[in-house]
Symmetry: C2
Subunit: 155 residues, 2 copies
């Protein structure tokens, strides 16, 4: 007699999660960006991103809360996907002025459908180099959610 | 001759956005919680919530980063929905110990499918009273995104 399905599907293996995370990084357009100011006031917005295979690039007005916070902290925590299928990336943030890396700016505009170079307001780019990557769906996937540590994908 | 659709649909009116936001508050199960510590290090996780018609209640381990951050800050910024259909709520946070409000705890367990009172680890509840609510889909809805200010729904 076949067993009936109960609760969430079985937890994915680490290679499965890594493959799924890479699909999101390559195919998704938006992510959630958490940031904070020096007093510990947290902020959260959705932004579009470009993934070049190793780093995430986002762009936002220099004077915005997210822009100020990321430039200050030099570190970001971002989330891709949905609340029950999440990929969370943390890593260092490099601020890039417009004009500093034109191929990257072109690729960002193509991936996001938005070109901050055409805006009246002053934008900057932030390039995030992943240090840790986690992925989980339901609570049965909390164990084993870490896919990258110290910038290295785990086997 | 009918005009062809271009770009996103027309921006919703404020009453439409408020109605859509209330549907999410009443029907969604999860949200994104941004928080930060006193040094300005930002954090971000998905959590389940319960909406009682006026406040949002979430629960997380007391010793977790989100738990520590929310208890310290007494303020939260949370996001419901998707990156292109977002409801963002900011408001003050009240920490409720387990046992402090049993009807609320029962309602939270029923809404989320998760009962922190049954966990070995020590959980607390955080009740968020909205001060501001914003809702937008695409960039054409950034104008007019504010639906609540100072705890009052805007007409």
């Amino acid at each position: 007699m076949a067993e009936q399905a109960q609760g969430p599907p079985p937890a994915r293996s680490r290679p499965e999660r890594r493959a799924d995370a890479l699909v999101r990084l390559q195919g998704d357009v938006d992510l959630w960006v958490a940031s904070a100011d020096e007093t510990g006031s947290a902020y959260l917005v959705p932004l579009s991103f470009y993934w070049d295979g190793a780093t995430l690039t986002i762009s936002t007005p220099r004077a915005s809360r997210t822009g100020t916070n990321l430039a200050r902290a030099g570190w970001a925590r971002v989330a891709l996907g949905h609340t029950r299928d999440v990929v969370i990336v943390e890593g260092s943030v490099e601020t890039l002025e417009i004009g500093a890396d034109r191929p990257l700016e072109d690729a960002h505009a193509e991936a996001t459908g938005f070109d901050p170079r055409a805006e009246a307001q002053e934008y900057v780019y932030f390039r995030i180099t992943p240090d840790t990557v986690q992925a989980w769906r339901e609570s049965n996937e909390l164990r084993g959610r870490r896919l990258m540590r110290g910038g290295e994908w785990l086997d």
